[in-house]
């Protein structure tokens, strides 16, 4: 199934009609599809953005194909299989997973219950982020984290938008396919992109996914019940995450995590003493042309090497 078919399968109302007429090349090259009430559909690609008219062809902004609140409501209903209640936790976190591993960010009015966001109503925009799996993108990093029959505890570090999750997913897949048992704690369904119980992304043959589990609870549960050799987790940082990381490390199970940050100082600030549990730090960076590369450091902050990431 192509990206167009994946998005089309969960589209409803007028949006569905427009998508049906839209060239699939726009979907294949899309990074984001923005659906805003009162505006035309906007497809954002690597170097440009186009508005889509009612005939499915590029048109001027504010053309005849403005999306209504009802269209967005139907779209959310379709994305949830007519069952927003079943995805309440995700919707209240501001997103939903859809087939193909894509994610739809949701904006609207928050319904607050006991001080927490219980639901989002009056949905005014959806941002569908297109998942492009880049198999082999982290191939160059593997040699730094494997060695002596053991996977070193590794933290992939970067600010948002540099591809931490993509690199982590590729590392998990490579390591898992080599026969290592990996337990993946995927709190926001971003790495395996589980949709209705099925991983939409290739995460390897020996990976067990704990989908939707809070990170710390998921990591400790995996440690107790799944006999993993590696526990992988996205965006660690809270106090409980750090405690879990320490416990896992003591038990001799490997760690593969991502952390928000730009420098080692920021990582230490975020992880505190938890940073000492990691052997390798992979910092993701972008060059002037927008290409991504990784700087690999050891625990003593010694640069081990630089590797270009294969983005193709």
């Amino acid at each position: 199934m192509g990206i167009k078919e994946e998005i089309y399968s969960v589209s409803g109302g007028r949006i569905r009609e427009i998508f049906e007429k839209t060239d699939s090349a726009f979907f294949e090259n899309a990074e984001e599809i923005r659906l805003r009430e009162g505006q035309s559909i906007k497809i954002i690609m690597k170097n440009k953005a186009v508005f889509i008219g009612g005939n499915g062809k590029p048109s001027k902004e504010g053309s005849d194909a403005a999306i209504s609140a009802e269209d967005l409501k139907i779209m959310v209903s379709f994305m949830s299989g007519y069952s927003p209640y079943a995805y309440k936790e995700l919707i209240s976190s501001g997103f939903m997973s859809i087939p193909g591993g894509h994610r739809a960010g949701i904006a609207g009015h928050a319904v607050i219950l006991d001080g927490k966001v219980d639901m989002v109503k009056d949905i005014s925009s959806l941002n569908i982020r297109i998942a492009h799996e880049k198999k082999g993108c982290a191939e160059g990093i593997l040699k730094y984290i494997t060695g002596g029959g053991k996977i070193k505890n590794t933290a992939v570090v970067s600010p948002p938008g540099f591809g931490k999750t993509t690199v982590l997913r590729d590392l998990i897949r490579s390591i898992s396919n080599r026969g290592t048992n990996v337990s993946l704690v995927d709190e926001r369904s971003e790495i395996a992109a589980v949709f209705r119980g099925k991983a939409q992304c290739d995460i390897g043959k020996n990976t067990d996914v704990l989908d939707g589990f809070p990170k710390a609870e998921g990591m400790l549960m995996a440690l107790r019940s799944l006999s993993p050799q590696i526990i992988a987790c996205d965006e660690i940082g809270g106090e409980r995450d750090i405690e879990a990381v320490k416990e896992i490390s003591v038990c001799g199970v490997g760690l593969l995590c991502t952390v928000h940050g730009r420098t080692m100082a920021e990582v230490r600030n975020r992880l505190n003493t938890g940073a000492d549990e990691f052997d390798i730090f992979v910092f993701l960076k972008k060059n002037e042309k927008g290409g991504r590369y990784a700087c690999v450091y050891d625990r003593a902050e010694k640069l081990l090497g630089e590797e270009e990431l294969n983005d193709n």
Binding site: S9, V10, G12, G13, I74, S77, F78, S80, G81, Y82, S83, P84, Y85, A86, Y87, K88, M119, R196
Partner: protein, 173 residues
């Protein structure tokens, strides 16, 4: 004379059989209501305890029930996956309408059956639970009434059929 006797026996027994068949319709109606009650209960469990979406709950429920009600849930699950209708109430109505010829329900039962479509989907789990319980209690009420009617008809229809047969015999011979 023997031919007339045989003919008379045939007329009386076939009229009595028709009465039995008519009384069986009430029994089938009760069975349909019972299946629907079971189905709503399974659906409630699938949604409230297992957290399944409406389509998944339809499919899961269809695995546990039988007859025409099973077909309704199967059709509803299929149409939910296809996403051809804008809301689940339309999907449910469509699935019910498609299976009406195989059901033995009357208009009151059908109204309750259609109302199930309104509870599926949009509302939160708690509200769906409450509404499902409401429908189950309504089905129980209908089933009780249908049971009393069925008991009366099971006695009445075969004997009424036999009497009609005798009347026919008298008139014919």
């Amino acid at each position: 004379m023997i031919i007339k006797l045989i003919g008379g026996i045939l007329v009386v027994s076939s009229c009595a059989a028709s009465g039995c068949i008519m009384s069986r319709k009430s029994r089938y109606r009760i069975e349909d209501i019972e299946e629907m009650k079971k189905a709503v209960s399974f659906y409630k469990g699938s949604v409230c305890a297992m957290g399944l979406s409406a389509g998944e709950a339809f499919r899961e429920t269809a695995l546990r029930i039988k007859g025409a009600v099973k077909s309704i849930f199967e059709d509803a699950a299929e149409q939910t996956e296809k996403r051809e209708f804008s809301d689940i109430q339309q999907i449910w109505k469509n699935a019910v309408d498609k299976n009406v010829p195989s059901l033995f329900l009357n208009s009151e039962d059908m109204e309750t059956l259609y109302s199930f479509g309104a509870i599926a989907g949009f509302m939160d789990r708690q509200q769906q639970r409450e509404n499902a319980e409401l429908i189950i209690s309504e089905l129980e009420r209908i089933q009780k009434k249908a049971g009393e009617k069925c008991a009366r008809e099971e006695k009445l229809f075969p004997s009424a059929g036999a009497l009609c047969g005798m009347l026919l015999c008298i008139l014919l011979f």
